[in-house]
Symmetry: none
Amino acid sequence: MMARKKSTQLHDKQKRILEALDEFQDRYGYPPSIREIAEFAQISSTSMVDYYLRRLEELGYIERDGGVSRGIRVVKSLSQKVGELFHIPVVGYIQAGEPINIPQEGFYPFDAETMVEVATSLLPSHERKSRLYALEVKGDSMIDAMVNDGDIVILQPTQVANNGEMVAVWLTDEEATTLKYYYRENGTIRLQPANPNYEPIRKDESVVQVQGKVIMVIRQVGGTGA
Amino acid sequence: MMARKKSTQLHDKQKRILEALDEFQDRYGYPPSIREIAEFAQISSTSMVDYYLRRLEELGYIERDGGVSRGIRVVKSLSQKVGELFHIPVVGYIQAGEPINIPQEGFYPFDAETMVEVATSLLPSHERKSRLYALEVKGDSMIDAMVNDGDIVILQPTQVANNGEMVAVWLTDEEATTLKYYYRENGTIRLQPANPNYEPIRKDESVVQVQGKVIMVIRQVGGTGA
DNA sequence: CTTGACATTGAACAGATGTTCTGCTATTAT
DNA sequence: ATAATAGCAGAACATCTGTTCAATGTCAAG
């Protein structure tokens, strides 16, 4: 029993209203009034705006506080507002001669100074980000992984790695931590440096302990170097 | 000829109003009305709120749009909001054999896909961030700068560099782009690779064109490598 | 004490604003 | 064709809301 297609001008006007809400809020710092929406979205009567606002509220795009001027919140923004930040604790250092030391799994000091803020848009969306942690690289030992002194490495804790993933491993025979690409090849593990000028090393799987998967490397260039 | 200390209840009320503005905006998604501020900040008359709002506007804490309901913007927030993001356009690629090509200075396509989001806390605060741009590294040619294929390099455009800064330079004699630490040494330029296993190169300053200063390098490790 | 600037109150007014109602038009199912 | 429903316009109304004003209180300096 529907009359007109629900997607001719309707969708268009809804979209225009949502854009108006976004843009007005952005420009003035507060939501528009009904009449201002009408002007922005080129809708000629206030009742029409109200009409579509009700619809948008039903669809879950916005929330309204009845009777309150400019009482509109955009819940589901049209322009997917890129801008989520994620705080990752820098829990320590990573260097060749020492195993990775993750203090107090899941409970870190919440200082701003020991946090790295990373935009969620740069993180793999499918991962559960809650347990990520970061390490600061100390020394030149990770140089064959193209990772330098002072770089920040963001890791996802895991004991198992898939082929082709960059992992932080602890080699029990050498008592050393290193960053390498991981390849399991019939019984042995091939650890491939990121820098193609370096040769891969092969280890028996019994001496390779995967500490975590490298998600990202951040290098802040201060101005001192070499 | 001043009467009362300007910092007894005044400061307190101003602070309460600013807090009310912040909290209300946070809770409802739009600024409070005068009367709602009065309630939040425990001020008993609307004229008092207006009185202090004028003062706060003079002091540059807020901006008001006269005659507009809820027409208040908080400019200088009391609680410094940690979590600012900065959008940097990825304007192209950087590779050995081609000069850096910055299209349309200051006017980039505003696609979300060609943007890198970086937390302002990771950027040097003193820089004017407005003109930063990012390039994606193509090929292995930057490997002696510890920069790999696929890495994102964030640059600040400049023609002059200081000693010790990592810069992107165009070498006119070789027709090549490269990333190196920059040192001016009595007439010649020493370009020092970030990787200490590589040797520095020396060039006459006439063939070295500084394209930009490297601010940050971001490597997103997808899972494929080597 | 007097003065003057700041602080405060309460009320009133004008305009902004959300809401509703009536009526009209266009489109589509039957 | 005809009815039903969605889309639309304009006006009217009640209330929300910013603004102003007159009166009073408070406090410190002269």
